[in-house]
Point group: C2
Chain length 190, copies 2
């Protein structure tokens, strides 16, 4: 019981540190300090740093995917465009306001050791597929594979790029989402 609580605290603190300072500069000493422990104690809960890091990042993807799916479920009769916009809003909201797990995943993924990346392949692929299906539905059956792939990359780029400039005290998620709709999804597939 107590182990589960401590484990959760460690994961949450790790997510915050990873987002801020990156994979390599998150030291287990600093992490332990932040949860009122000593570095060695962390090894009771995790076999290694990479095990811990993998877990943080895995929680991140699963969190956005779950949030987006449940957001979509709330509006079962939405049009393809409305569904994309719902996904955009929930993704942004989770990324920017709710979850260090998501933002640490996005920021750290490029620099994390290869074995960690490999262990995350499946969860990432699953979330990718969700977006591809949303975009396929929006562009319609006559769209090419590249149409779908490239629109997905433009969208994800615009969403995840917020990590480098969005200031929750100045900017509004719904405002930015509205611009994305105006700029990217005027009204009908072209």
């Amino acid at each position: 019981m107590k182990a589960e609580i401590a484990r959760s605290e460690i994961l949450a603190a790790a997510a915050g540190m990873m987002r801020q300072v990156g994979y390599s500069d998150m030291s287990l000493r600093d992490l332990a300090t932040q949860v009122n422990m000593k570095a060695g104690s962390l090894y009771y809960h995790f076999a290694s740093k990479d095990e811990l890091v993998t877990e943080v990042m895995r929680i991140g993807v699963e969190a956005v995917e779950a949030a987006v799916r449940s957001g979509l479920d709330e509006h079962p009769s939405a049009s393809p465009q409305e569904r994309i916009m719902a996904a955009v809003t929930v993704h942004l909201d989770t990324l920017l306001k709710r979850s260090d797990f998501v933002s640490s995943h996005i920021r750290c993924y490029p620099f994390v050791p290869v074995p960690v990346r490999e262990r995350l392949r499946e969860v990432r692929r699953s979330y990718d597929q969700l977006w591809l299906s949303l975009i396929r539905a929006y562009l319609g059956p006559e769209a090419s594979t590249d149409d779908v792939r490239y629109l997905r990359q433009v969208l994800i780029g615009a969403l995840n790029g917020t990590l480098e400039w969005f200031n929750p005290e100045r900017d509004s998620v719904t405002e930015y989402a509205r611009r994305i709709e105006t700029f990217l999804l005027p009204q009908k597939p072209r």
Copy 2:
């Protein structure tokens, strides 16, 4: 003379390593090995690791900005939309095929020490201004500050996001640029 050559070699190797492994995991020992030197010798050319890193990243921004400006100068009578697309193409091309300096800048900036980020503020601001003026010209004088800012962020996000998926052997820069135009800049400002 010889110093200048060695210095350039070091910078180029550092850019490649930074792009691949990030700021913290680029060790001066590894860097030195790659240019057939010993770690201590690097200090003849640079006062510190952060000095070297700052220089790599400074070269990066200045390189894209110069490339984009010269690309724009080639078509003086282009429309605002054509000018944005010229900038998009050159930015992508520089980022993806020509310069480890640019990609290392984009990838490492979030995790580099604060003093390094501060020393890069001016060059980054200068490149930002270029994009803002291009977008202002495209959206027209009746567009709000937020219209301009947000479109800029969508664009830059879509461009720099390529770093995480673009495969030069599979994908084409002009192809992706064309999609950006279709998706984002249909024909007229809205």
